[in-house]
C-alpha cells in the first residue's frame, strides 16, 4: 500500500510514526529543508542554540519531535524541500516540485498535515518594510537569531502575541509595546474555560506577568489606526486606547497577527468540502474526529485541518494514521484510539475557550479605511472592493468571494488570498449585509504556490 504524507510538523511526525510502526514506508514530503514544522523549526547549521533557548517551555516536546523525526527519515521515502503543488484525489496522484524538478507521486491513501499561517487583519501602512506577521517575528528570532527591528511593537491578539513579545524581550530586543485588540473583559469571561488548559494557560499567565514585571507597556482593548513610516521603513504605530484617546508608539518594526488560519489548499484541491467554523472564525475542511474526510483515501491532521495547536496536532496525526490503517484492514488496538479520542476531546474544550478569549475582531477588518491596501499582492485598496460589491449587488446574482475576486483581483495574486482572504470576506459581508458563511471562501487553485512556468507537470 502506497501512503503519502504531506508535512513534517508535529502532526506529520506522529502520523508517520504510526504508519512505520505498522510496517509501512510512506513517501513523506515537506516544503522546508527539514521537518519540525513552524513551531519546532530547527535553525540551519551553523546556528547552534540549545533546545531550551530555542523552544523555552516547549523544549522537551520539540526535542522529542526532532528525535522521532530523525529516526523516521531513513525508514521512509523522506523528501525535504519538496513542494506538493497539486493533488488529484480521483487519480490518486500528487504533483510536487523539488529544486526545480517535477515529481509525480502516486498514492493509495494520503495524510495531509499542511499546517497553518498567521491570520492577518490589514492596518493602514501594513505593507511597509518592517511590518511582519507575529509568526514571522518568531521565525526570524528562532531560525535566524534576528529581531525584526531594534524597537518593536507587537499588535493583534491571541496566545502568540504575548509569547513573541516575551521571546523578544528575553533575547534583548526592546519591546516598545504589546497592543492587544481584545478587551480585558472578553478574556476574563473566558477564564473559567481556560483553566481547562492547565499548563498551557499557566504559561500564558507567566509570559504576561514577566512582561509586566519588566516594565513593558501592555495595553488591552486597543484599536490600531495606522503603521507609520518613511523611506527607511516603520517609524511608529498610531492606535486608539479603550477610552477613545489617540496614542502613538515610536518603533522601527511591528509584528501583527490575530490567531491562525489553516493552510488547507491541498485538501481543497483534493475535493474535501469546507464548512465555516463560527468559534474559530475560519473555513475548515470537513473531517471526522479521527481525521477522515468525505473523500476516500484523504485524511487530515494538525492545524491544516482546523486550528488546534501543536499538542493537538501530535495526537491528531497519530489518530489519522490509525484511521487510515484501520480503513486499509490493519488491526488497530481499540484502547489506543479511545485514549487518543479522549485526549483530543479534552483539548478541544480548552481550544474553544481560547477562541472565546481571543475572538477574531471582525469589526477591525470591516472598518479598514477605503484608501488602505487590502490585498498586498495586487495593491488593491479596501474601497475598490467595496465599490465593486455595491455595483455587483445592484445588477448580478448573489455575489460571493470568487465573483469578487474575478471583478477586483482580490486574492488573485501570488499568495492566492492566504493573507487578505479573511479580511476581504468581512469587508464584502459588511458591504452586502450578509453573514460571512454566505459570502463563501476563495477556492484553491493549482499550483497552491507559484512555481516556475518551465516546470510543467511530471508525466
Amino acid at each position: 500500500m502506497k501512503v503519502a504524507v504531506v508535512g513534517a510538523g508535529p502532526a506529520g511526525v506522529r502520523a508517520v510514526e504510526r504508519l512505520v510502526a505498522a510496517g509501512l514506508s510512506p513517501v513523506w514530503m515537506d516544503e522546508a529543508p527539514d521537518g519540525g514544522g513552524r513551531i519546532y523549526q530547527r535553525p540551519p547549521a551553523p546556528l547552534a542554540r540549545d533546545a531550551r533557548t530555542l523552544y523555552g517551555f516547549e523544549a522537551k516536546r520539540a526535542t522529542a519531535i526532532h528525535d522521532t523525526l530523525d529516526a523516521l527519515k531513513p525508514r521512509t521515502d523522506w523528501r525535504p524541500e519538496t513542494l506538493v503543488w497539486h493533488i488529484r484525489a480521483g487519480a490518486k496522484q500528487m504533483q510536487a516540485l523539488h529544486r526545480g524538478a517535477q515529481q509525480r507521486i502516486d498514492f493509495d491513501a494520503a495524510i495531509l498535515c499542511t499546517g497553518a499561517m498567521d491570520r492577518v487583519i490589514p492596518v493602514p501602512g501594513w505593507t511597509l518594510p518592517g511590518v511582519t506577521t507575529l509568526g514571522a517575528a518568531q521565525i526570524a528570532l528562532k531560525a535566524q537569531g534576528c529581531g525584526i527591528g531594534r524597537r518593536v511593537v507587537f499588535l493583534g491578539t491571541g496566545p502568540l502575541l504575548v509569547l513573541v513579545a516575551y521571546q523578544y524581550a528575553k533575547a534583548g530586543a526592546e519591546v516598545a509595546a504589546v497592543l492587544d485588540t481584545t478587551p480585558f473583559a472578553t478574556k476574563a469571561r473566558a477564564a473559567p474555560g481556560l483553566l481547562l488548559g492547565g499548563a498551557t494557560f499557566a504559561k500564558g499567565l507567566y509570559y504576561t506577568a514577566w512582561l509586566k514585571r519588566h516594565g513593558i507597556p501592555m495595553v488591552e482593548g486597543i484599536t490600531p489606526l495606522a503603521i507609520e513610516g518613511d523611506a527607511q521603513g516603520v517609524t511608529g504605530v498610531r492606535w486608539r486606547d479603550a477610552r477613545g484617546r489617540e496614542q502613538h508608539t515610536a518603533c522601527d518594526a511591528a509584528g501583527m497577527g490575530w490567531g491562525l488560519k489553516p493552510e488547507a489548499q491541498l485538501a481543497d484541491l483534493a475535493g474535501v468540502p469546507f464548512r465555516h467554523d463560527a468559534v474559530q472564525a475560519n473555513w475548515v475542511p470537513v473531517r471526522d474526529d479521527a481525521g477522515r474526510t468525505p473523500v476516500p483515501g484523504i485524511y487530515l491532521a494538525g492545524d491544516g485541518a482546523g486550528i488546534g495547536g501543536a499538542e493537538v496536532a501530535e495526537l491528531a496525526g497519530a489518530r489519522a494514521a490509525l484511521a487510515l490503517l484501520q480503513d486499509a484492514g490493519h488491526r488497530i488496538d481499540p484502547i489506543d484510539t479511545v485514549t487518543l479520542d479522549r485526549r483530543l476531546a479534552g483539548l478541544a474544550r480548552f481550544r474553544a475557550a481560547l477562541e472565546r478569549a481571543f475572538p477574531f475582531p471582525a469589526h477591525l477588518a470591516r472598518s479598514l479605511p477605503d484608501d488602505a491596501i487590502l490585498c498586498r499582492c495586487e495593491g488593491l485598496r479596501a474601497g475598490e472592493l467595496r465599490a465593486a460589491a455595491r455595483a455587483e449587488a445592484a445588477t448580478g446574482p448573489a455575489p460571493e468571494m470568487n465573483r469578487a475576486k474575478a471583478f477586483t483581483r482580490v486574492g488573485m495574486g501570488r499568495c492566492q488570498g492566504r493573507v487578505c482572504g479573511a479580511a476581504a470576506a468581512e469587508i464584502l459581508a459588511a458591504e452586502l449585509g450578509r453573514p460571512v458563511p454566505r459570502i463563501g471562501r476563495l477556492r484553491g487553485q493549482p499550483p497552491v504556490k507559484p512555481i516556475p512556468i518551465v516546470a510543467g507537470a511530471a508525466p
Partner: protein, 91 residues
C-alpha cells in the same frame, strides 16, 4: 527594514552581492536575513507602485520576498539559504 542580530551571531562570514554591491552575511542566513541584516532596506518594489516590500510571513506563504538569484532565477528570500558568491537582484 533592518534585521537586528540578537543571537547566534558568531558564525563564518560569507559574501554576496545585491545589484552588484557587496553584502556581508553569515553562514546559515537565509537570503532575507542576509540582505535585511545588511543595509538593503527592502527586497522588491510592489508592481502596483505602492512602495517597497521586505517580506511579511517568513514562512514561504505570502510570496512578498521574491528576489532573483543569478543561475537560480526567482526565489523566495525567506526560504532560500544565502551562499557565498550569490549574485542577487531585487525581485
Amino acid at each position: 527594514m533592518k534585521l537586528v542580530r540578537l543571537r547566534d551571531a558568531s558564525r563564518p562570514r560569507i559574501a554576496l552581492t545585491l545589484e552588484g554591491a557587496p553584502i556581508e552575511a553569515l553562514q546559515g542566513d537565509t537570503l532575507l536575513t542576509a540582505l535585511l541584516a545588511a543595509d538593503a532596506g527592502h527586497l522588491r518594489n510592489s508592481e502596483f507602485g505602492d512602495g517597497p516590500r521586505a517580506g511579511f510571513c517568513l514562512m514561504a506563504a505570502c510570496q512578498d520576498c521574491w528576489v532573483v538569484v543569478e543561475g537560480l532565477g526567482r526565489v523566495r528570500a525567506c526560504a532560500t539559504l544565502a551562499e557565498d558568491g550569490m549574485e542577487v537582484r531585487r525581485g
